[in-house]
Symmetry: C2
Subunit: 201 residues, 2 copies
């Protein structure tokens, strides 16, 4: 095997990605894979498939709100949709890739903190003060992080990753790729596990 | 309990509904429920949520074709998308509700036969000759069935069911309702089973 990873593509503002983020590391550990955290921007990808933000869609949005509440109860994770939902995840995503490059040991904990700030604590991670709080709590210098997300280098990395997502056919969040095999949706994680454990069927 | 049923809403032309149809009776038996087969028309429902036929959507269609192939292999059911896909399920759906009213013992076997004619045998159930073949194979008088699907009474029943689907928030196929609880998608059948077995969580 060349690549023992699970690519975990997500938009930080996606509730189903939040649920996935709470169990992907366990799934990866049990299947002997490493998680590659790959934030992208649904706002860029959605127009290519004529989709819109889920919670704003008629009928489907109502279902999704109800569905997220029952999934949260099932998983036992805190969850509420804040008024700031959905937020633009551009800056936190740039911060993510800056961390990946310069402070990779913080990637997973930062991602969890961003998801939880929004979906558990009702905060808006697109606000720099929220991002600064998250950084400080993880001993990441917030001034460095806030400076980094405005640098062209880090803007370019995110753009590259979004293009990569589009190139790989990623159209929703969460979206997993395992040895080239795509799995869309939180509810496909059991199938992904089966795929890894059985190999191609 | 007043209602010990699983409402199984589907469009006959939906591949994920076909997969669901191949296991819904076993799930129902194991959870001590009766299946209520409820065909409706995605073509009427989709515009309300700005959706389009899945296989015709860019990117998502490619994923769905790949996904259906692997699900079929996983389940061990024959599957191929015929050139006639997607077909208009209006007439077979009218036939379904006519059977429900006058020959209820044929409802499930007719539904299976329609699904398999399209997804296993590559036929187009919107053609009256195909419908006639399906009827004859089940000892349903095909002349009566073909006459019934043009009667206003049976057109009205289908229209009523489609309105009912819309009223209940059904927006995709398959879509299950259990004691008022909605589950969208083939991949949510395990969650539905859990819901029934655990009760509300």
């Amino acid at each position: 095997m060349v690549r023992h990873v699970i690519e975990f593509w997500f938009d930080f503002s996606s509730p189903y990605a939040y649920f996935a983020s709470e169990s992907i590391e366990q799934l990866a550990a049990e299947t002997k894979r490493a998680v590659v955290w790959r934030p992208f921007l649904l706002g860029v990808v959605f127009p290519k498939t004529s989709m819109a933000p889920l919670m704003q869609m008629p009928i489907r949005g109502d279902y999704a709100r109800h569905d997220c509440d029952r999934i949260a109860r099932l998983l036992g994770v805190p969850f509420r949709l804040p008024e700031s939902h959905p937020y633009a995840a551009v800056k936190v995503s740039r911060a993510h890739y800056w961390l990946e490059k310069y402070r990779p040991q913080h990637v997973a904990s930062f991602a969890h903190a961003v998801f939880r700030a929004h979906f558990a604590d009702g905060r808006d991670p697109s606000e720099v003060s929220v991002m600064a709080d998250i950084a400080e709590a993880l001993d990441i210098p917030s001034d460095e992080l806030l400076e980094a997300i405005e640098r062209d280098e880090n803007k370019a990395i995110l753009k590259q990753r979004v293009d990569e997502a589009i190139g790989k056919g990623v159209f929703g969040s969460p979206f997993f790729i395992v040895d080239g095999e795509p799995f869309w949706g939180w509810d496909r994680m059991p199938m992904m596990r089966q795929w890894i454990e059985k190999g191609r069927w």
